[in-house]
Symmetry: C2
Subunit: 203 residues, 2 copies
Amino acid sequence: MIQPRRTRIQQKNSEAILEAALEVFSQHGFRGATLDQIAEVAGLSKPNLLYYFPSKEAIHVTLLSGLMHTWLDPLHRMDPEGEPLREIMAYVRRKLELSRDFPRESRLFANEILQGAPRMREAIEGELKALVEEKAAVLRFWMDQGRIARVHPVHLIFSIWALTQHYADFDVQVHAVLGETEPDPYPEAGLYLETLFARLLAV
Amino acid sequence: MIQPRRTRIQQKNSEAILEAALEVFSQHGFRGATLDQIAEVAGLSKPNLLYYFPSKEAIHVTLLSGLMHTWLDPLHRMDPEGEPLREIMAYVRRKLELSRDFPRESRLFANEILQGAPRMREAIEGELKALVEEKAAVLRFWMDQGRIARVHPVHLIFSIWALTQHYADFDVQVHAVLGETEPDPYPEAGLYLETLFARLLAV
DNA sequence: CCCGCTCCTGACCATCCGGTCAAACCTTAA
DNA sequence: TTAAGGTTTGACCGGATGGTCAGGAGCGGG
């Protein structure tokens, strides 16, 4: 992911390892996951894992840094030149799609933050903070123009994160509460969030 | 906690163990936490832990079942006879106060759900689901009366959970993004959530 | 066909983990 | 004061865990 693998075998096995590691790390967190478990899911032997990655931590870090880009991309794409409500709604929709399509990635991230972000502090205090401040400025600008209602821009972003990630991170709870009747909560969630932000931001 | 301890020493040590276990479990999850770590935080020896609790799992279960009551209490207190918006706002406020005052409990819960709720499935599919359905009916009743706007009642409850717990579970991220300038995000968060739900539910 | 390099594995290691146990220590109440 | 019962601990156990290593298997180019 970080460095292009040379051979086809390296490509295939590295991907299999990262895929398996995502499965295991996202469910048990870094300390709760074991190399044996990852190796079994990947269909490789443990020493073979360590042929491709120097350590358990290296696998984790590779996953996290690969994640950061995908994760921040929707916010990056919020265009200052666009129509404000439309841009925000598009951001919410993309973020909700990430939760639906990549729930394990969301849980991996959640696990890392829950544990105090020992391997992501830097990225959070740097890249993430800078991006949020940039986009908060955009939101504030839109508010000054009177094109959306005035609310705390950073908390607005927090609320988008919280509401969308909830469906991935608390997946089990959501499904348990909704029961068998509603196997896919995302269509309803999308409608609900659209209403919520439309009413919150209407001028 | 579940059974009243007889002597003063038992009382004191059991509490110290549960306090330490909360600290460790909430940060590392069940599998990531170790008895040695809990023992060290509690200021006791590992065999002494196992004098008071039969196993690591027993400590975890005790914490979780003790938590369930506190956690559901604010929703229980949403009164069908009260003024709808007032009741919902009170629920949001109480839930946010729980996040502020008991962030470790929130993270313990989040960890458990993230890991597929292996030790809480029963409580979630039973107690929690029943309570949500009961209160969703109340919300639907209020909507039928035209006293609050019509939105999906269960997703409304989800959104309250997501928005309030976010400040406890993603504490590190919130603080990192807000920076040193805003040491306590809760006053602003309270105001923001008040606005959000007022606008969402206004008729 | 063979050589060199990539890929893979069984065996192994030190450490850590949850948990046990017998013995020692401490408190209390008669 | 003493004995009984509650409390604490060092030493230990079997199994898991992250990681190493020497060597074998497989592959690709000449």
